[in-house]
């Protein structure tokens, strides 16, 4: 084993995570390697000061209100989704009705009707193109079925 390998074992030794055999081999190495022994001591001091850092426990009311905050955000998310879908449907319906009126109206110039139809055709092509691209990437996504 190289000294580099033993260096990583320093962590397991410090945190008491080595198996008995690993621990014995590492302690044997420490007898002969002053560099690793020195590094172990330095890491021991670092671990000691890091272990002393504790984070402030929040007030009880934070834990009491924690679930409420999540529940409200889930509920609001659902509300926004329903609202958005309904708004989009209304806009589409209103749009179609308005276009229908313009097309049927004999007083509107033919050129305006043609431009309007071209605009709708362009939007349809864009929509189909984006949809096709999304479907293509979705099918190719290697992680879409990842379940753990």
């Amino acid at each position: 084993m190289t000294c580099q390998h033993y260096k990583e074992l320093i962590m397991g030794y410090l945190d008491n995570e080595l198996e008995d055999e690993q621990k014995r081999v590492f302690e044997e190495h420490l007898q002969t390697c002053s560099a690793c022994a020195r590094e172990l001591e330095e890491f021991r001091k670092l671990k000691q000061i890091t272990d002393e850092v504790r984070l402030v426990e929040p007030e009880d009311r934070i834990w009491q209100q924690y679930w409420g905050g999540i529940y409200n955000r889930i509920e609001r998310g659902l509300g926004w989704t329903v609202f958005s879908v309904a708004a989009i449907l209304l806009v589409i319906y209103g749009g179609f009705k308005a276009i229908e009126e313009i097309i049927k109206d004999p007083s509107v110039a033919m050129i305006l009707k043609v431009v309007l139809l071209a605009l709708i055709a362009g939007l349809a092509v864009l929509f189909v193109s984006i949809l096709r691209e999304r479907l293509y990437f979705w099918k190719k996504d290697r992680y879409r079925d990842v379940r753990r």
Partner: protein, 192 residues
Amino acid sequence: MESLCQDEVTVMERCRRGSKEAFEAIVRRYMKDAYFIALGLVGNREDALDLSQEAFILTYRNMKRFNPTRPFFPWFYQILRNLCFNHSRKRTDERRLVEQFDGRQVEREAGNNFTPDVVAERNEVKDRVWKAIGRLDNKHREVIVLRHFRSLSYEQIAQNLFCSKGTVMSRLYYARKRLKEILDSEKGGQQE
């Protein structure tokens, strides 16, 4: 974060069927772990609270993708860490932008988001360690947080990070080495 018991499998099954009561039980069980891990990763209370709650919301929306026979926490942890890392990246980008405009020096990574007011029984050494943890890169900071602030075993850390115990040991070595370098450089800077 203990091993999976039958009760938890049942609760997870109910969650997958959309039960809010079952999900509430999951939230209550893991909220402290989620909050303190987020605090360790992003460094301040408000963001930690917001991101840990956001992680539970995303979990609830994606519950159908979860396999209830597998442990819940490692799956949840992936969602939480991604949110926290994205948040830190955004904060760093924002600071870089500010730096470009007014020429101020910006600390690397999330360092200056790590406010010492979250450290209990503060003293100078603890404040310095906390700020130094904030200057580690994400990969190193997370092993320090999981080991020191949640006291997870190497086995549990490996389970959460989907890696081997050997990788955990190696990552901790480089994380602590970097932490030591930061602390030493600051000490040197102060003495000069």
